[in-house]
């Protein structure tokens, strides 16, 4: 078993590095950081269901990168530079000034779109990594109870997300075994939605009947201690973030 880190460690690290990435605004560094994060996630995996959220966030980030690039090619402010190819210009009504659909696609325009896409995708991957490295249950235990309602929503959201993918697999399997190899989205989504709704209601009811949020103060059973290793992670992240902000 790996050393248990404080549930906030990776979240704080993710926030710090995210600040660094945004202020540095460098695609190459971002990609390097995603790579390093992937290695870290791989090293610390223990087979929990929420660990899937990292690969999910990578896919999501990739989708955003693609969308951002396509949108950047089709719509946008013309940036002068080396012309790659041209798209036909669509005439927009006069009340939409400053937006152009189509037109010349320059290398600069393309690269700035990809660049932005990479930065956004990196941010998503960072938080995906934080989710997959931290047990949502543990995270709940450190949330102060004055944010009771928010806390409940948070647990439900974080514990539901990984369960969703497990349930989706199960439902798709049931349909495959019924002979529909490529079930329509609806066939999967409706049972999935039904299940997640009832699951979240159950969890909320269970938390409520066990007195969650009743007392203003919350005690801790074997409080999660802040260990040296937490400080190590945090100082590395702070250092990186500072370096990126200053650079």
């Amino acid at each position: 078993m790996k050393r248990q880190l404080h549930p906030l460690t990776f979240w704080i690290c993710a926030i710090l590095i995210a600040i660094g990435i945004v202020s540095l605004d460098n695609a190459a560094v971002s990609i390097a950081i995603v790579g390093a994060t992937a290695i870290l996630v791989y090293q610390r995996r223990e087979g929990y269901p929420w660990e899937k959220s990292f690969s999910l966030s990578l896919k999501f980030g990739l989708a955003i990168l693609i969308i951002r690039t396509v949108v950047g090619i089709v719509i946008g402010v013309p940036i002068p530079g080396r012309n790659l190819f041209s798209l036909p210009i669509v005439n927009l009504p006069s009340w939409m000034p400053g937006i152009r659909v189509g037109g010349n696609v320059t290398l600069e325009r393309l690269s700035s779109s990809i660049h932005e896409g990479i930065i956004i995708a990196t941010l998503i991957a960072l938080f995906g990594a934080a989710t997959s490295l931290t047990s949502p249950h543990k995270l709940l235990r450190v949330t102060p109870s004055f944010i009771y309602e928010v806390g409940i929503t948070l647990v439900i959201a974080t514990s539901l997300f990984p369960q969703l993918s497990t349930s989706a697999t199960r439902i798709r399997r049931a349909h495959t075994l019924r002979g529909s190899e490529k079930p329509s989205l609806r066939r999967i989504a409706i049972p999935l939605l039904e299940e997640s709704l009832s699951r979240s209601l159950h969890l909320a009811a269970a938390m409520d009947s066990r007195g969650y949020g009743v007392s203003k103060k919350r005690s801790r059973y074997r409080p999660q201690r802040w260990l040296t290793i937490d400080s190590t992670y945090l100082s590395i992240a702070t250092f990186l973030a500072l370096a990126m902000v200053i650079a």
Binding site: Y48, P49, S135, H137, K138, L140, R141, S145, V155, R170, I171, R173, A174, H175, T176, L177, R178, G179, S180, E181, R186, R187, I188, A189, I190, P191, E194, E195, R199, L201, H202, L203, A204, A205, A206, M207, D208, S209, R210, G211, Y212, G213, V214, S215, K217, R218, S219, R220, Y221, R222, P223
Partner: protein
């Protein structure tokens, strides 16, 4: 301890009263069973006790419920956390943390108990429920029985005066169920905790309960001692049906009592009726199939052949390899070694229409297959999928459960109705082989009986093979010809239901326990044997 006075309940957007003018009183240290058909309002009644209904669900509540002098109308469920412990139908959905110890401490943390009190109480509970060896395990890796015990422990650690459990054994195999129930029994007797429990499988709980709250189909409710209620109730466990069939003066609730009253019946000498196993053509051939997940072997070189028109039950403890066995038959995965052939085809290669006519599969959650907004639409879709005349599925459904509304939303149906809907969707393709995974949890005796009769009919009229994984001993005894018993990935017994069930005391049905050593599994067996004696 708990007083219901003139309680009526209606949920929002519904015209049906769930409970009507219900009054009763439960004393401290009583164990009370709430029974009734599926969808009769058992869960609502249980959740009224700690105020989850109506605080969490909405609805109009008339009358008053008080627990230890506190009216649940006035306080939120959280404020009753120290008084009422509640364990839901599916404990895994209610777990807030992921480690056993932390889960048990969660409620105390919320109520701001001091750390040393928490340490002491967690230790107590771990010992009381025999969970000390799994204290720092992740809950997701525990067996069903252990998870149920963690849920009970998490409720008990608050030292509640009332413990409420909704179908605590429905997902458990007979042995794990017994563990859980005997713990409850001990709590009632040693700590004088009041226990209110809802359960469909009456045969499992009936011997432990003091009184019964019986919610009838029409919404009327009766309360009384177990004997009183069971004398007239419609839903009764096999042991009571036996007493009725034999015209005994007294009905007992435990095997011991009924055995005392039936001594004379066991003295008759009848030659046991030979019940040959079906030996038709082979439909499913399983040859030395092994399967492993990572390092753990789920199936170890299993071989079996199943015949046409045979109904086979696959039994065994949770995690014994039943599901993997079913998955190999339906072809979810090709076996890692060995061979499975279903009517001449390897099931892993089946697709589309060919699959629908070859193997019908009902998953553990039947609703996984439902996605339409009404029953009628669901049936029409099945007609299209299976290429049968419009209306086939619907008429099948109406034969199964008459009076199901065509415009109802599938998710609003009761558990039994939903199973019937999925069953008719799958059966409208008239598959050669029908495979069911734990179909009867959440079904009451009547629904289970309809279901069993249908299976028998389907197998015999169409000469079909049915494979069913189940923990339900009584269902197996009543309707199934052959049992394959799996333990630790190996077949440990394969034979007629009679031989397999009688050889294991934990898996023997109630009638067999009462009538032992006579080889009678069901009331029908007993009666036909008695008829033959002069």
């Amino acid at each position: 301890m708990i007083t219901f006075s003139n309680v009526s309940l209606i949920y929002p957007h519904s015209t049906k009263t769930i409970l009507e003018d219900l009054s009763f009183h439960i004393e401290e240290g009583e164990m009370v069973l709430v029974m009734g058909e599926t969808g009769s309002g058992k869960s609502s009644l249980l959740r009224l006790i700690n105020g989850l209904v109506p605080h969490h669900t909405g609805g109009i509540l008339a009358g008053d419920i008080s627990v230890d002098g506190i009216s649940t109308r006035l306080v939120k469920p959280g404020s009753l956390a120290h008084l009422v412990g509640i364990v839901g139908q599916n404990p895994i959905q209610g777990f807030v943390t992921d480690i056993v110890e932390e889960e048990i401490a969660f409620g105390m943390e919320s109520l701001n108990f001091s750390p040393d009190v928490m340490r002491k109480r967690v230790e107590e509970i771990l010992d009381l429920l025999g969970l000390a060896h799994v204290r720092d395990r992740s809950i997701a890796t525990l067996s069903g029985g252990e998870q149920q015990r963690v849920a009970i422990g998490a409720a008990l650690v608050m030292h509640p005066k009332v413990l409420v459990l909704d179908e605590p054994t429905s997902a458990l195999d007979p042995i794990a169920a017994e563990e859980v129930l005997s713990i409850l029994h001990r709590l009632v007797h040693d700590l004088s905790i009041t226990v209110v429990i809802a359960e469909h499988r009456l045969e499992r709980v009936i011997q432990f309960v003091d009184r019964i709250v019986y919610i009838e189909g029409d919404g009327s409710t009766s309360i009384g001692s177990a004997e009183e209620i069971l004398r007239t109730a419609e839903l009764v466990p096999p042991i009571v049906q036996l007493a009725r069939a034999l015209n005994l003066n007294e009905i007992g609730t435990s095997v011991r009592e009924v055995r005392r009253n039936t001594e004379k019946f066991r003295e008759i000498e009848v030659d046991p009726e030979p019940r040959p196993l079906v030996r038709n053509e082979i439909a499913i051939e399983i040859e030395k199939v092994s399967h492993s997940y990572g390092n753990s072997m789920a199936l170890k070189e299993i071989s079996a052949s199943l015949h046409k028109s045979e109904i086979v039950a696959v039994m065994g403890r949770n995690g014994a390899g039943k599901s993997t066995f079913l998955n190999s038959i339906v072809g979810l995965h090709a076996p890692q070694s060995g061979r499975v052939v279903v009517n001449g085809i390897q099931p892993a290669f089946l697709k589309g229409q060919e699959r629908r006519t070859a193997i019908g599969y009902i998953p553990q959650e039947p609703s996984d297959l439902l996605f339409s907004t009404s029953v009628a639409e669901e049936c029409r879709q099945a007609d299209r999928d299976n290429d049968v005349a419009p209306g086939t599925t619907e008429s099948l459904l109406h034969r199964l459960v008459p009076g199901i509304s065509a415009t109802a939303h599938p998710m609003d149906l009761s558990e039994g109705q939903r199973l019937a809907l999925v069953l008719s969707i799958v059966l409208s393709g008239n598959p050669e082989v029908l495979v069911l995974d734990e179909p009867t949890r959440g079904l009451d005796y009547r629904a289970k009986n309809t279901f069993g009769v249908l299976l028998k009919e389907f197998a015999s009229t169409f000469n079909r093979t049915i494979v069913i994984a189940t923990h339900d001993v009584e269902l197996v005894a009543e309707f199934i010809d052959r049992v394959i018993f799996i333990a630790d990935g190996e077949i440990v017994a394969d034979g007629s239901t009679l031989d397999v069930l009688l050889s294991s005391p934990a898996f023997a049905p109630q009638v067999a326990k009462v009538m032992s050593p006579k080889p009678w599994l069901t009331i029908g067996d007993v009666l036909s044997a008695l008829e033959k004696t002069p």
